[in-house]
């Protein structure tokens, strides 16, 4: 064995790096006095070398490209997505844009629910949301923050069409014309040559696009005309929304569809608010409008959306509901991260969760402590085994290595379930202990469904990840080091501790990082043998991903876990040094 040290400079073969290095050296030696070295064809040497190397580099890139792509798609993109999801909160602003805008001046600290304008905005937002059926999703989202909102929204979605029933019926009965869909369309196009209110149309377009999720196939229609929008402003907005939605989502021409209740109610309110409105129109349109105006029930001018919502459910007067909508109205939120740290983002601000609902911090601490314990157990159990393997004759070592790898050949679930059988109170291990008289029959040990169970089972499962790097590092430590140490006067222990052990540290480092990082994200085993006291944060993440469907919170928990791991990695680098990690050779 000749272990001549080989630094990069000692490898004198024709590697690209060495070629560059040599060119540098040549350039340095020739100095500035006689310009760059020239190749045979007269181009500067460095340039022709670079050209020659570029092909090599391109080929190298082509070789790694599939993997690079794979990693980008399956690793980098999901992590980026997770980080985004943990703060993303578009849904409130997209579903209730007018309501969120109307709440601008309102704060929870006002001590009372917002004024009529907010209820008015809520009506139009909610109507569209109910048509698009997005209100239940939003209700579900806000329900994470304040329970009860989900059912409140579902109910509102059903009830919103009934608001202003009296006004709608009055208009309907006032003239036959209102039953004609085309009449409505004509009304909105009244006036001069298509002088459309483009701002209004653009707004409505933007909303319809968010709801339908695709670019609108809607031709450049011209409602509402500027005249109609001036005379009947609410109606114009409501009709445009209806028309765009009908066209883009239902793909029906609006002139063939009955307008929504919201359009009818808007017309009633416009006519009540502006007695001169019919005069902007002429002929049959003016007649129908006048008839409708005359038929309006008394009190229409003072129509209150607030009363309508409160009648539907008293909770619409609740400060908490409005506070929640306000608190989560922004496009990004710190709410998920606060929840993940056992705080809650209330309408009043940030507050700690009640003592008995604080689970995540405990879980994070437990995950870290138990992962460290598992790593430590793996070192303690794995080190002697690796040492033995590294010092046995190759043939014996290979046989034993198969035993070490054997666990990999059985399914994780089978192994974990086997531990359940072994560790339970009536299980094999307790039976043996009772039989040996170490524990009494009444005092059988609880080895499963708690932290002990998780540590035992996970140490077993992760042990090979410790032994393999340890073994391959130990294999490279020549026995002559130990002999040298002893010949220099060291006892067996000193020789081991001062000479052998320091050289095996890179193996311990690699093994520990592997085991620790695997442990910290493990969830099948803790789920099966951990009970409630032995589950990890990852079990909670899995729960939020697949059961509660609170992906934002799951993403926040995952992000915190990621940061924790990176922080520990950094700490490890500071203490041990990351170049002190070897997987062999």
């Amino acid at each position: 064995m000749t272990d001549t040290p080989l630094g990069p400079d000692q490898i004198s073969g024709a590697t690209p790096d060495n070629a560059l290095r040599n060119a540098d050296r040549a350039a340095a030696k020739d100095g500035p006095h006689d310009g760059p070295m020239l190749a045979a064809d007269g181009t500067p040497l460095r340039r022709s070398l670079n050209r020659a190397l570029r092909r090599q580099k391109l080929r190298a890139l082509a070789l790694v490209a599939p993997l690079l792509l794979f990693i980008l798609i399956t690793f980098v993109a999901p992590i980026a997505d997770m980080l985004f999801r943990s703060v993303e909160n578009q849904i409130v602003g997209e579903t209730l844009p007018r309501t969120v805008a109307a709440l601008d001046d309102w704060t929870f600290a006002d001590g009372e629910p917002p004024d009529e304008a907010a209820y008015d905005a809520l009506y139009s937002d909610m109507f569209l949301a109910a048509e698009a059926k997005t209100h239940t999703r939003l209700g579900g989202r806000l329900n994470y923050e304040t329970t009860g909102i989900s059912s409140l929204f579902r109910q509102a979605g059903r009830g919103v069409a009934d608001i202003g029933e009296a006004q709608i019926e009055a208009i309907e009965d006032s003239s036959e014309a209102w039953d004609d869909s085309a009449f409505w369309a004509g009304l909105m196009l009244t006036g001069d040559e298509a002088a459309a209110d483009t701002d209004l149309l653009a707004d409505a377009r933007a909303r319809a696009r968010i709801i339908s999720g695709e670019p609108l196939a809607m031709p450049d229609e011209t409602w509402p005309s500027a005249a109609a929008a001036a005379a009947l402003p609410r109606t114009a907005v409501a009709y445009t929304e209806f028309a765009l939605y009908t066209w883009s989502v239902d793909e029906d021409p609006p002139a063939e569809e009955d307008p929504w209740e919201a359009v009818w109610l808007s017309l009633a309110l416009d006519l009540a608010a502006n007695p001169d409105a019919p005069s902007a129109f002429s002929g049959a349109q003016a007649e129908a409008l006048s008839a409708a105006q005359a038929a309006l029930p008394p009190g229409t001018a003072d129509f209150s959306f607030r009363d309508a919502f409160l009648e539907m459910d008293e909770d619409w007067g609740s400060l908490d509901v409005w506070g929640t909508i306000k608190a989560f109205g922004g496009p990004y939120t710190s709410g998920y991260f606060l929840s993940a740290a056992d705080y809650s983002l209330n309408p009043e601000g940030v507050s700690a969760m009640p003592e008995d609902e604080q689970i995540y911090r405990t879980l994070f601490v437990r995950t870290l402590v138990m992962s460290l314990t598992i790593t430590l157990s793996c070192i303690l159990l794995g080190y002697p085994v690796a040492w033995l393997l590294a010092n046995l004759p190759l043939r014996t070592a290979n046989v034993l290595m198969i035993l070490v790898l054997l666990p990999f050949w059985t399914s994780l679930l089978v192994r974990t379930s086997a531990w359940k059988v072994l560790l339970q109170q009536q299980g094999v291990i307790n039976d043996i202990l009772v039989w040996l008289g170490i524990v009494s029959d009444g005092g059988r040990l609880i080895l499963i469904n708690n932290a002990t169970g998780t540590i035992i089972a996970m140490t077993h499962i992760l042990l090979p990840f410790m032994i393999l790097p340890l073994y391959s590092v130990m294999k490279t430590i020549p026995p002559s080091y130990l002999r040298a140490a002893k010949s220099l006067g060291a006892t067996d222990w000193t020789a081991f501790w001062r000479v052998y052990f320091p050289q095996s540290v890179p193996g311990i480092g690699a093994g520990s990082i592997l085991v620790f990082i695997l442990a910290i994200g493990y969830y099948i085993t803790p789920e099966i043998v951990g009970g409630t006291k032995g589950v990890f944060i990852s079990n909670r993440i899995a729960y939020h991903i697949s059961t509660s469907l609170n992906w934002g919170l799951a993403a926040a928990l995952g992000s915190i876990l990621l940061v924790l791991v990176l922080a520990l990695y950094w700490l490890y680098d500071r203490i041990v040094g990351i170049d002190n990690v070897k997987l062999g050779g």
Binding site: Y481, K486, S487, G489
Partner: protein, 364 residues
């Protein structure tokens, strides 16, 4: 071995060693070394040299026999209490320690105070001309420098006995020669006893007080270098040390300092009986290439034989001629490049001759 083993510094007495319980790697080793001797174990690979060294150092136990240090058996003393310095072929410098820390190691485990320690380290480094390298790591040193440090480390705790197992095997020729010289100088200056293992005969001949030629788990001959070359005791040693011509034959007569051998090709020659049996037994006759002359005028005692030139090689200071003599096609003759020396051509017939005392009859 004729020395009184009892007052030797190092003594192997009837030592045997087997690793597998079936074959003996070391068979009946007897060796006694006085204090201050530089003894080299020379032999082909696998002849048991390292095993002997390891038994002396305490890393292997002798299956049979006793090893004594200063008259006391050391079979049951663990290696770290033997106080024997060792230099390994791959240097075995601890890679995670600096040069100075490597040298401090044997002193620390002996609980030597810091100031004394530093003084000794400095002295040891200066001794091998590596005074400025204390802060380096082994990986930052060249092979020769590493070997010097390994030497300094083995000497820093002032052992009386130092073992070296092919310490120069991994170095190039020039460096090897420099270090050979330095090691012998140090050994003599410090008065230490050295057991040196090598498979390189030049190294063995130039460095040692005595050389033990190993083969097949036995010492074939233990003698000073000149004696080993001039008077090999058996045909293995004659073959192994230096260049040698062998002619096989049967003994006809043995009379004191003279014997007659009938070669297999029929010629009868006189030889000096060194290691032979009775008349009628087989023997190998050994003649050094530089003791053979062409067209000899050696006097009445000399022997002459007919030979045919096979190859003539010009080597600068010498000529090597390969001849076919008495059925041996590899008979080499070395002649100095003198002005009057004729250059032979292949196929040419010549007469060669030598003095009977240069022709040694050895075991078959």
């Amino acid at each position: 071995m004729t020395e009184a083993a009892s007052d030797a510094f190092v003594a192997f007495e009837r030592v045997q060693k087997s690793y597998d319980g079936e074959t003996l790697v070391v068979k009946d080793l007897n060796l006694a070394m006085p204090k201050g001797e530089f003894l080299t174990m020379l032999g082909p690979s696998g002849s048991g040299k390292t095993t002997c060294l390891m038994m002396l150092a305490g890393f292997e136990t002798a299956t049979h026999g006793e090893i004594k240090l200063e008259g006391k058996p050391i079979n049951n003393i663990p290696p770290h209490k033997r106080g024997i310095g060792m230099v390994f072929q791959n240097y075995a410098l601890f890679p995670h320690m600096t040069v100075a820390e490597n040298l401090a190691f044997p002193l620390e485990v002996r609980k030597i105070g810091k100031s004394e320690r530093e003084e000794k380290i400095k002295r040891a480094l200066d001794m091998v001309q590596m005074g400025h390298f204390g802060g380096r790591r082994p990986a930052q040193l060249s092979g020769g420098q590493q070997q010097r440090i390994a030497l300094a480390r083995a000497l820093v705790f002032e052992p009386e006995l130092v073992l070296m197992d092919e310490p120069l095997g991994a170095l190039d020729k020039q460096l090897r020669e420099t270090l050979q010289f330095e090691i012998t100088r140090l050994a003599h200056d410090l008065g230490i006893t050295v057991v040196y293992v090598t498979h390189d005969q030049t190294e063995a001949l130039t460095m040692s007080d005595r050389v033990a030629v190993f083969d097949d788990g036995r010492i074939q001959q233990l003698a000073p270098p000149d004696e080993l070359y001039e008077a090999p005791r058996n045909s293995f040693v004659a073959q192994f040390i230096g260049e040698n011509n062998t002619l096989e034959g049967t003994l006809e007569r043995v009379e004191g300092e003279r014997c007659t051998v009938r070669l297999d090709s029929g010629e009868v020659i006189d030889a000096k009986p060194v290691n032979v049996g009775k008349a009628g037994e087989r023997t190998k006759v050994s003649i050094r290439p530089e003791r053979v002359e062409f067209d000899p005028e050696l006097g009445p005692d000399a022997h002459t034989l007919k030979a045919e030139v096979r190859e003539f090689i010009y080597m600068g200071d010498t000529f090597r001629t390969r001849l076919s003599v008495a059925g041996n096609d590899d008979f080499i003759v070395k002649t100095r490049n003198r002005a009057d020396q004729v250059r032979l051509t292949p196929g040419q017939s010549v007469t060669i001759g030598w003095l009977p005392q240069d022709c040694r009859a050895l075991d078959a």
